[in-house]
């Protein structure tokens, strides 16, 4: 039986559990006895091939199929949503921590840092060393500033049916790359023009994918591009340089 056993069965078993995931011990049980001593290396191989993700700690070690695995983005939602609802009322860090239960707790610190880095939430210090948070929208409203959509927000806006996907961009990117002699740093302007898509749509997908590491975005610090090329760039808050070029990773 051991000879016929395929680790793919393990992947299917994890997948079937969906967002609940499977504990390490459950997975070990699915491995034939004669091979159980190699359980760690089997799981390690599946993990490095990208077939499963984990382990995520929540009392036990859990594994997930990639599409069901918990992410930092989910943890960000868990933090951002109540803060938005709270308006100008301050929320203590400890209260936010309570909301990030289960697997989200793993990502809590990262998610908080990311939201702060993107200026989506504002951190405030209380007199008794308590840290509070408030959503940027509430601050902008109080300051009577227009709540224009920032590029960073574009990345987190829900994807609508008509918007651009990375699959739309990739063939155009590959053509542009080939046209410039195989150099993979391509101007966002060129992609936008060839694709005929709006700047917001292209920015949204590029920022989203930059988060996951599938693309990288860059300024062009050492050349002067024409104004239309610069106008197609992404401006991040607090950064002087526009991001005007993109590299799509082949192996991610």
């Amino acid at each position: 039986m051991a000879k016929e056993w395929d680790s793919f069965k393990l992947v299917e078993y994890v997948k079937a559990a969906g967002a609940k995931g499977r504990t390490k011990s459950k997975l070990q049980e699915k491995i034939p006895k004669v091979m159980r001593s190699q359980a760690s290396s089997i799981l390690g191989e599946l993990k490095s091939s990208g077939a499963i993700r984990g382990p995520f700690k929540n009392r036990s070690d859990y594994y997930f199929a990639p599409q069901f695995a918990p992410t930092r983005e989910q943890a960000e939602d868990v933090i951002e949503k109540p803060l938005r609802q709270a308006g100008t009322r301050l929320t203590a860090r400890s209260d936010l921590e309570k909301k990030a239960s289960g697997f989200h707790r793993t990502f809590f610190n990262d998610a908080l840092a990311s939201l702060k880095g993107e200026a989506k939430i504002v951190e405030l210090q209380g007199g008794n060393k308590t840290t509070f948070y408030v959503h940027r929208d509430a601050v902008l409203e109080q300051l009577r500033l227009p709540s224009a959509v920032e590029p960073e927000q574009l990345a987190t806006m829900p994807v609508q049916q008509a918007t651009v996907t990375l699959d739309d961009i990739r063939p155009i990117y590959n053509t542009l790359k080939a046209e410039q002699g195989g150099i993979s740093t391509v101007k966002i302007y060129d992609i936008m023009t060839r694709l005929g898509a709006s700047k917001e749509d292209v920015h949204r997908i590029l920022l989203r994918e930059a988060k996951s590491g599938r693309v990288s975005l860059h300024p062009a610090s050492t050349v002067k591009f024409p104004s239309d090329v610069m106008a197609a760039g992404i401006r991040l808050q607090g950064q002087a340089d526009l991001l005007v070029t993109v590299v799509l990773k082949e192996d991610v």
Binding site: A113, S114, E118, I183, S184, A210, S212, L236
Partner: protein
Amino acid sequence: MTSIFAELEVNPFEDDVVTEPRRVSFSVEGLNAKPLERLITQFRSLTKGNLPRQPIVDQKAQLVVSPDRGYGKSHLLGRRFQAVGDQATLIYVRPFQDPQRVWTSILLTTVQELERSNQDGVESQLEAFSKGVLAHVTADHMSDGPVKNQPLVQDAVKDLRANPLTMLGHTPKSKVLINWMKTKLQDQSEIRKLASLLKSRHVELEGREAAWLRVLAGYAFTKADGQERDAALKWLRAEPLEEEEVKTLKLAAADNNARADSSAQEINELSRSRLKGLCVLASYYRPFVFCFDQTEFYGGDRALVDALGRCIWDLHASFSNHLTIVTANATNWLQEVLPFMQPAYRDRFSAEINLEGINVDQAKELISKRLRDFQVDDAAALDFMGEGWLDAQFGSFAQLGVRDLLMRAAGRFRSLAAPSAKPPPRTSLDDLYAIEVNKIRANKALQRYSQDCLMWFVQVLAEGYEGVTVNKTDQRYFTVRWAWPDWSVYFAFEGGDHNARWRAIARDAIELGGPSRVAEAIVFRTPDLNAIPRPTWGAAKTVIEDAQRKGLRVAQLAVDEVCQLHAARELYSNALQGNINYVGADVLSWLKVHFEPWLKRYSGPMAERSPSVDEVVPIRVVPSARSRKRLAAPAGSMARELTKAQVGTVVEFVSAKKLVDINEVLKTLGDDSLKDGVLRAVENSPNLKAHPCPQTIYLQWRVA
């Protein structure tokens, strides 16, 4: 935590540009591992099989591309040097300036790089290369001789091939072997045999096989400051040899094929031939790795771009046993280089090797290491990155450019060291320039004669000065002219010291000046070159002195001046590469103002110049003609090597203080004039590192 950082005199993150790939000492695990692996794999294709190998050609130049500035191009070259340093001859090529003299420039750089130290303990790369080649040629000869079946001979062949540097080292056994080889090289019939052995391995040296072997032996088997070495280096640099130098190397007269009256084009062609010879000889030993860095420098000039393309094309088509690496910023390459390069040249580059950014985990490693180097403990390092600071730097991105990260870390360091201080203004060009001067001062190899830098000064920095027109001439030596309606200054770029060539230069200078003295002719010399005229010259000295009265100036630069000039070009290159927060045009404008006293000094007739404007360059006579000694004590400086005891004092003092101003070290030594000596000691110690700052240089103790 703040107090720990406040106490440090140097910001550990401000060193964010690699000026010298050879100095790279730390790499973050996994960062740009794939690009490095690709380069190493490509290199391995040159080292397959046992030595000697058939010449290997058809290696495309490996194009390393950075998506923006600060992704580690030069750092990658440094890691490449570390990874294969004992298997390759490494040549780091800075941008050339004259499209007509590309090979002259590359050969000069190559020979200077060959003289740099070697990873496996022998004195220089050239010593390793020449001994390696000669050992394998000798082994070939022994294997082909009448006693080839003798076990003793077979053992010697085996040893020579396995340990060429040890076999030709400094042991009594080596001495016997070296003497035996010298005898063979002096015997006409034997040298013919050796030459034919080279040919049998397809090592074609345009009929100069015997000369190459004698020149390599002249370098390998003589003292570091010997006349033979000097002559061998000259021959390798495609300079003409004096008669006594030909005799010293035991060359045939025809082998002295660099003519005194050669034109720049002819010298360029001969330089190409020498470089090709070195490469083909690498069949017997280590392949060459040529690294063309800072290519943003070529961007503004179509002729330079074309010359770069032609050079890479030629290297690919005609030179064997080498791997050429070219680095570039993607946008510069796409906007300023590729459009002006012929398709045939473009095809000589490999598919791009793309550099990657640093991720959070790698960032942690890098920041921790930088702080550890300054004796900051792990807890403080964790605090430095804590409170979400590091994650916030990455924000929406999985990766950042390494220099971006270092710049942010430098800012974080400043805010922790002085929390109430306002953010500092942009570093001024005065300070950036001063840092660059101190960097050159701290690195002796960067102070050597560079015709490219001198050409850049007279062509680029002079542009726009006092209504001057800078143009190229069709003169044999004086190839650049500063022209005003009634006055001209001509410049020649000659690093050699052949008396016939200098006589010709002197004659041309007199002719250019004419009877009414409407022009002056300048040749720059740097402290590492022999003084002109040489003390032993007779007739040539008279001709040169006569020319000096009629407008020839042999402008001897002091070490400080060389540092300033080289720093200027480096600063400009840094701007073009995006290494500093200024654009090239701004830096150039600043440099033109800064160098106005220089332009004034060299633009007017000598007679009109006051001593304050021009120190008038008396002809300096360096007492010794020995290159090594010259390097140790360059003309125009008081540079002295430290004694062993002084080196010990420096090491002890810095190890106790951990980070200390060089002026404190000099106080301890009781002699302020030992600055360059101290810097040389720092260069030679794996535990010491120099941190050039605008006003001073800090010395740091590091655990090697």
